[in-house]
Symmetry: C2
Subunit: 297 residues, 2 copies
């Protein structure tokens, strides 16, 4: 049976979702919902979504920082998959969303991190290990988007980079992510209000406050060029009593990989619904047999 | 609350379980069941186990090849955790065990592989990747034990070794485990029946048949010495469209790490039981929140 999908939001992630759905025999794109008026044959105004039912799962490709938490609770009757990526707020978001989902299912915070690397951290904490994650070098969409919400910012892109000695630091006991990474922000802004914008960035809680953050003001054109660098990397290192593990994920395009992962979670929804699951689920709530072939055991 | 545990079987894995339970504040060892008469204050004859209820979970530390599938279905009323490791027979074992577990829970095939690496394969197949596992260099307890079941074998130990070019072969498309590994068997036997024993080993289905297997006959003393090499390693490599992942697990002692993992699965049993789970579950059936702190998401 073909899974009918809607995309909500048509930025980088929305476009990757559209492209990845094209590649799948078992899926069809029925509509793209946006607040903006899109020149696209599948465009529908976002305000109409609540009354519509021509799709099985809505893929939320909105920005995490405000849009997902604002819109997702309105989609009471829709099954959704999102990639909400503010680690510190996932539990709160899940709890508030869960209250709105009596007869539908929301799978939250999928993607490669949070998502697959969350699962890797969980798996390799078993046996009493401590887990540390190194991200990058690569663009963080969530962090870039958070900067773009600041008044006066035209465009921005944020590169997360493990510090040169990060892996050694982990093995020597360093556990704080802020001591293992640098955050480099390239920002184009309208005015000469650079100092206020830089301060808003470096002091933004959850995103930048506990990190060594460098803000570089540049032209919109250079930001655009830097955004073309879509490759990313994530490493989960766990250290236990008599064992250690390292998981290394390398990807060519952040949003393409996120889209592929979101589609596999969306494919699980009909089976989860059939088995009685409702409400908001995160990746730790879903038995892996809904996502992976049990032959891999 | 203290989780009360029984160990069933007192070979290498049973002894590792005893040692690891000692280290845990939240667990207590109530009995060690064995077919052999053990000189141990906690020894109880295995035949008495079905009538006993002084423990919450029985940890099955029997050999996979015949003992687990023979004994586990007899433990109708006991919650059990095992590390059954014949990959090709896990589904069949689960299905037959499930039928015997109406009011108890069996978690099967835990350990690092099958177990944690099964989970890694499942997680990193998401997004459409193909997964390949490289084992070693290290002793396979399951394969060593399988050799020891052959008539005329006094003792044996089997080292699994990735072929020197294994990782490159995977990236070039090789998927068959037998083309990526060598199996080196050190065997001490009673008689001059070497040729028959070598043939039985290399032709053993599931274990050796599809591998380059080398059988080296040696003294029981050399086998004993080789068994002291307890380190092992497992790598899961996945290759997808625009991404690749590598998970690398290194451990000092196979049975100690397996024991730690079994204990974490045992710790999940009271919560699984409270939530209504019964029957036989494999690692793909258990939501990760029963095993890992959701802060790791």
């Amino acid at each position: 049976m073909t899974l009918r999908l809607a995309i909500v939001g048509y930025g980088n992630l929305g476009k990757s979702l559209e492209k990845e759905i094209e590649k799948r025999q078992d899926m069809a794109l029925t509509a793209i919902y946006s607040r903006r008026n899109l020149d696209h044959e599948k465009y529908r105004p976002l305000k109409d979504i609540a009354g519509e039912c021509q799709f099985d799962v809505a893929l939320l490709a909105l920005g995490s920082y405000s849009d997902i938490t604002e819109y997702a609770p309105l989609f009471t009757h829709l099954n959704t998959v999102d990639s909400f990526d503010t680690h510190a707020k996932i539990a709160e978001y899940k709890s508030s969303l869960n209250a709105t989902k009596k007869d539908s299912l929301a799978i939250i915070s999928t993607g490669w991190d949070p998502g697959l690397l969350s699962l890797a951290r969980g798996v390799f904490s078993v046996g009493g290990a401590e887990c540390v994650t190194l991200w990058g070098e690569g663009v963080s969409q969530g962090h870039s988007n958070a900067i773009r919400q600041i008044r006066g910012v035209i465009d921005a892109v944020q590169f997360t980079c493990p510090k040169p000695n990060a892996e050694e630091s982990v093995l020597n006991g360093e556990r704080h992510s802020g001591k293992l990474h640098d955050r480099i922000c390239y920002v184009a802004c309208v005015s000469s209000d650079n100092e206020r914008i830089a301060q808003e960035i470096v002091n933004m809680p959850n995103y930048f406050k506990d990190y060594d953050t460098k803000v570089i003001f540049t032209s919109p054109q250079e930001v655009r060029e830097l955004k073309m660098r879509t490759a990313h990397r994530g490493q989960v290192i766990s250290v236990g009593d008599g064992f250690s593990t390292k998981t290394d994920v390398k990807l060519d395009c952040n949003t393409d990989y996120t889209a592929k992962i979101m589609l596999d979670f969306a494919a699980a929804i009909p089976r989860l619904i059939a088995d009685g699951y409702r409400g908001a689920m995160d990746v730790y709530d879903i038995p892996l047999r809904y996502l992976a072939d049990s032959k891999l055991i």
